[in-house]
Amino acid sequence: MLNITDLEKRWIRYKVKFYIPHLSIFISLSVILSIFFSFSNNTQEPNDIPHVVKEEPLLVASKESKIKVTPVPISKQETRVIHSTKKVKLSPSLDFMKKMQNSIQPYYNNEVSNKPYTVQKVQKVEAPKIEVVEKEKVLIPEYIPPVKVKKISIKRQNTQNDIYEIITRFKKNNNPALSLFVAKKYYELGDYQQAYNYALITNKINMEIESSWIIFTKSLVKLGKRDKAISTLKKYIKQSHSSGARILLDEIYAGRFK
């Protein structure tokens, strides 16, 4: 009589042994396949990216082509650009002024640039600059930014005649930014009396422009009216607590500014 239970146990062991290689082959195959598919997915992804990249320039090109081919939308865009340039064009003129200030008074750079009067200037200077742009409309309809044109035109105003032009523009619109520019320009040229006059005019129009008061007092010192300059500065400091004015006062006291 055979020992069935023992034989069944041996049979189970045999079946387990029999299926181990099959299982290991199946597992290794599935691992290989999963690795293969993951690799294939990775290789597909970069293929997708170039498609997107390719599409983007196509879209840009189509936009450009639309602008070039259809004249009506271009004219609309141009007018829009002109309107926008009216605002933009004014800011470079301020930059120019800042540069001018830098060359004269390096300590007041930040304060001058932070002043809010730029907005007022923008509105008032618009009119003459629109004319310049209108002339350029025909020449540069699409690409040339008007900023460069302005910079070039303003840089030409280094001569005495240019100051007169600005004086005439000031007389028309009574813009304190223009009078302050004239005052600074005169101070730079060494005409302290004119600098004093235009700074005084600026202060009368707007009493809160610090750089105008500084030019005013500096001109007074240069004109030999040191005491008046000191008293003016003191009064201004009392009202505005201007640090720039305080530094200048200290320098006058110390004799570093003569």
Partner: protein, 269 residues
């Protein structure tokens, strides 16, 4: 009363008996070829094949069939002593009793003196066990055409050399026995069972089961007998231990076949 499993088990007892010879198509053809070869004036016929391919059964069947018509002598176990071998042949073939040592020369004198028209056929099983010297003497004896030899050899490398070197020029007929195919094995099993009136057991062997058995035994008759003996012993054990509900009896399950193979050592578990 014995159960069908006990009767079926006994069918596959590994006993060489001509009565248990199963007539299969391929085997029948080979057997007929062997019978025809014996009628021819051949010196020696070689029957070879792997162990368990039915060589011994062939010789037994041949002995049983020829013994009624001619002088046939079957030696299933080899007589390894040379003198004993000559003395046995002299007594059986020529009815000459010889006391004392009988050498080859003396035996050849007896053969020549007793020469008859009816050439005796000597069937030697397991001839690979004979010494090379004795095999050379058997070759010389067959050259006299006074005795016809049918020898069986296991087909191994060494035995091939023996066959080539000593018998190649004398052997007129070589017959190779091979393992059974799956279909032959099914016929073999079912015929064997039906011969013993085990019809229910014979019906249990489906193609699937026989294929499984063939895969394990490689169609070897001896291994198949061994496996099926254990298989029915297992069924018997299940039946006697009231576990027979756990097994199917309408057909042979792979589990039982594999368990039998594990028990017989045909499967290494």
């Amino acid at each position: 009363m014995n159960s069908i499993f006990v009767n079926s088990k006994n069918v596959f007892l590994d006993i060489v008996n001509a009565k248990d010879y199963i007539q299969l198509d391929q085997v029948s053809t080979i057997y007929q070829a062997l019978k025809d070869s014996i009628k021819k004036p051949l010196k020696m016929i070689l029957l070879y094949g792997k162990p368990g391919t039915g060589k011994s059964m062939f010789l037994n069947k041949l002995y049983k069939d020829l013994s009624s018509t001619q002088k046939v002598y079957l030696y299933q176990t080899p007589i390894l002593d040379e003198s004993e071998f000559y003395k046995t042949l002299a007594q059986d073939l020529f009815e000459t009793k010889y006391s004392g040592e009988l050498n080859f020369t003396q035996f050849m004198k007896i053969v020549e003196s007793k020469k008859t028209e009816d050439i005796p056929v000597v069937l030697l099983d397991e001839a690979q066990l004979y010494s090379e010297v004795l095999m050379e003497k058997i070759r010389l004896l067959s050259d006299t055409r006074t005795v016809k030899f049918v020898i069986t050899l296991h087909k191994t490398e060494k035995e091939d050399i023996i066959a080539k070197e000593h018998f190649q020029t004398r052997i007129w007929e070589t017959i190779e026995l091979e393992n059974a195919s799956s279909i032959e094995l099914k016929i073999y099993i079912q015929k064997k069972l039906m011969k013993a009136n085990c019809f229910d057991s014979a019906n249990m062997f489906t193609n699937k089961a026989v294929n499984k058995i063939h895969k394990i035994t490689n169609g070897n008759y001896r291994d198949t007998n061994k496996l099926l003996y254990t298989l029915f012993e297992l069924y018997e054990s299940y039946e006697s231990s009231n576990h027979h509900r756990a097994i199917r009896t309408n057909n042979i399950s792979n589990k039982i076949i594999e368990m039998s193979a594990i028990h017989t050592g045909l499967i290494d578990a």
